[in-house]
Subunit: 478 residues, 2 copies
């Protein structure tokens, strides 16, 4: 009876909150009822949460209004971009006390300065829209990831997104010139400059990059742009091992200088999974080799990228590293090679629940690391399948594990994760190379923090958000 009473109380409070929010912000901004569900579901569809309401501001001033309204009502704020994150950073975890603030209506390019290779963009723009719009001016925004058709730039900044071009262009952090942020008290940090070099002391914007909405809501971003790569060469090479792939990467780093834009490792099972994920896919070679690398060179102007790729592939054969390979001779062929990479992900999804990791270790120890984890999993879970792939040039591997038919799926996932993390800790690796911490990895993160690190994080977070309004429950518990 008490429990029910408690529940009734909460319902009333939620209704009162909604009423107060609508009165203050207008029904145009406040989403309630069944429309809330889609904002409270994670990207994989594993988790369905709830919130008091979703607020959809159309301008920076409206974001400030939303934050101030939440503060006045004692509500917490969960900032959200495209909600494509993989660690539950934008999924509410206290449905009765949280509002989601979605940036999806703030999608404008405020200015584009082609002569400065920069643009100022609202945080809600979809990454692919930004890439397409700057491409029309002969420019290029290099961030590239699977979710780019849905993810939004503000979320990319808040999670410091990675992707397939990091080895050349860096993480999102390295692609930014400035930020505009609504702070936890509703005030505005105006840091939207477009200067390539600006060294005025402590760079506060760095705090917000990767903070996953815990320090404020990013409302606009100044981005660095580059000349569009007019030439792109793509190759798929078959190799003898992951170790050979890493050796090849090191050679490519020297032979191709800074013109390599992607170097993705795939195991043989990639082809099988890609076929499952995309049955129409035409595979360019049979999976008869232990390892594959999808490599891309790109550039423009006076550099001959096609020629460089041909000479590098020749070099790879001469060195005995490449055993087989194809160079795409058309955009369609290149697209097809990338579809293997994407199809592999879809194929994994079709196999049902599985362990997804996002690990980094020093490049010099990656082959050893993967082989140790795979051997242990092979021993302890003989019918599970390891799918280790990813951005090996960055030392980043997604060492995923598809559970076998024997035993409980969740138990197998837990067991595989424990094995991977135990080895990872001995290699001084990271449990999150690119996805962030969110709510999903909070415990694993917390367990590995030193006291000093934790104290610093707590001090910084309390200094900027003393009332803990912003994304409480994300990254660390305070």
């Amino acid at each position: 009876m008490d429990a029910i009473k408690g529940h009734e109380d909460k319902s009333e409070t939620r209704a009162e909150f909604v009423q107060a929010l609508e009165a203050r912000l207008g029904c145009e901004i406040v989403v309630t009822g069944t429309d809330v569900a889609v904002y409270c579901r994670d990207w994989h569809g594993d988790i369905q949460s709830d919130a008091v309401a979703v607020l959809r501001p159309r301008s920076t001033a409206e974001v400030q209004d939303c934050v101030r309204a939440a503060i006045d009502l004692g509500l917490q704020v969960v900032p959200q971009g495209g909600n494509t994150g993989l660690v539950l950073g934008a999924v509410p975890d206290a449905p009765d006390r949280q509002v989601v603030v979605s940036l999806e209506r703030m999608t404008k390019i405020r200015s584009l300065d082609a002569d400065n290779f920069s643009a100022v963009v609202e945080a809600g723009i979809v990454l692919e829209d930004l890439k397409e719009k700057v491409a029309q001016e002969g420019l290029y925004f290099p961030l590239a990831l699977g979710a780019q058709g849905s993810c939004r730039l503000g979320g990319n900044v808040a999670t410091n997104a990675g992707g397939v071009n990091v080895l050349r262009y860096g993480m999102t952090r390295e692609l930014l010139l400035g930020l505009e942020v609504v702070l936890p008290d509703g005030s505005l940090f105006e840091g939207l400059n477009c200067l390539r070099k600006d060294n005025r002391g402590i760079d506060l914007k760095q705090l917000f990059i990767g903070s996953e909405g815990t320090l404020g809501i990013i409302t606009a971003v100044s981005v660095k742009l580059l000349p569009a790569p007019e030439q792109v060469a793509t190759a798929l090479l078959a190799l003898g091992s992951l170790e050979d792939a890493i050796t090849l990467y090191r050679r490519a780093r020297r032979q191709c200088c800074d013109l390599m834009s992607a170097f993705e490792f795939m195991p043989p099972i990639a082809f099988e999974l890609a076929k499952e994920g995309m049955p129409d896919l035409v595979l360019p070679m049979q999976a008869e080799y232990p390892a594959y690398v999808l490599m891309e060179l790109s550039g423009s102007g006076l550099v001959d990228i096609d020629d460089l790729m041909v000479r590098f592939v020749e070099f790879a054969f001469e060195e005995g590293l490449a055993l087989d390979g194809v160079i795409a001779t058309s955009q369609a062929q290149a697209r097809n090679l990338w579809l293997i990479r994407e199809g592999m992900n879809e194929g994994q999804a079709k196999r049902g629940k599985h362990l997804r990791t996002d690990i980094s270790v020093p490049l010099s120890r990656m082959a050893e690391f993967v082989s140790e984890v795979e051997a242990k999993i092979g021993t302890e879970m003989p019918d599970a399948i390891c799918v280790s792939y990813g951005h090996v040039g960055d030392g980043n591997v997604h060492l995923n594990v598809l559970p076998g038919s024997r035993g409980d799926v969740d138990e197998q996932i837990y067991c595989a994760k424990q094995i991977a993390n135990e080895v990872l800790d001995r290699y001084n690796g990271s449990i999150s190379a690119e996805h962030g911490i969110g709510r999903l990895k909070k415990d694993d993160f917390s367990q590995r923090l030193t006291d000093v690190h934790r104290r610093l994080l707590e001090s910084v977070r309390s200094a900027i958000d003393p009332a803990l309004t912003m994304n409480r429950g994300c990254q660390i518990d305070l």
Copy 2:
């Protein structure tokens, strides 16, 4: 009498401080007396300050001891690397209450992992020593600046140093993988990983980069390394104007992709100043053109850098941008071209006190900006000489002003600075593109801070250093 008494009191206190420091840390660590002076003088020799003592720890643990001793005695700490900064960031300003902690004895390379393109280095290593040591392994640390024979890596990190290769490799911030920092309470932040990608939430090391010693003492650094550029091509091109130089930069950005490593602008007076600075210098061409660009391409392996330079210079002539030019055909010739750039700085120094600026504006407005400032200075100070040069590819110009013979030098410098800053503010530029804030630019910085920005800076600094032990008086007054 009171004043003298006060003075005597202070002297006694200083002697007591020294005694206490020696008792606790040992005479091996504590430098006093006349040996202190050199640590309290700025790089240009304009300022001579003083300190209670200079502490010279040999290990991270000894740095912690030094900080704890200072705290216990109520002393403030001024961290110092090579003391080559240009904004008085490492020069004490409260001689009776401050100790300098010099990192000059911590110069070890702790580890070098060629296969991971990384190294872990103590903060006191001289930048050039680091560059030379990694070069022996066929690797490259790209940070390059005039002071590299004296500056120390920890100082480069604390000031987020820039230099001539920023357009390709970024500021110091972008060259780091991890930091070890002794915090203001003497505890140790252990963030020395060597992972290329590590996205575990808020990246605390970013706070220390550019903090100029206000948040702690950087004791060791993990750095990113690259394959050594085996091919370097250098050219000096004569152009019609700064505007043409910027157009040429944009073309080079596209035509040479990511293979351009320097693009330095020089005005005609550069040649005269270089000759004054280095009388033996052989000039490759007469100063008959309005503008010059020193350009460098570099790379390794299968890319033909010399050929690319020849073709780009041809392109620059065809486009009507280059009016004259030389391509270095030997390392000695290339070195000679760079000597013009360095000699120009020495020549300015020989002309005596002058205004030095370190300005950035968007590249799209730089020509307009420089021309507006130079015109105003020409009108108001007809016999002053403007020397505008620098890293134009980054939008960074050192718009220096040599005072004329009429009028007081300091007044002229002040007047020229006011003119430059007034125009700069209208262009939304930065008063410090690469040198930092220190004590020299603190007022100019403070005047331009928004309330929100100031509050954030104060919160962060108080959160990490509540007792204000670290470099009080630097960057902002609290």
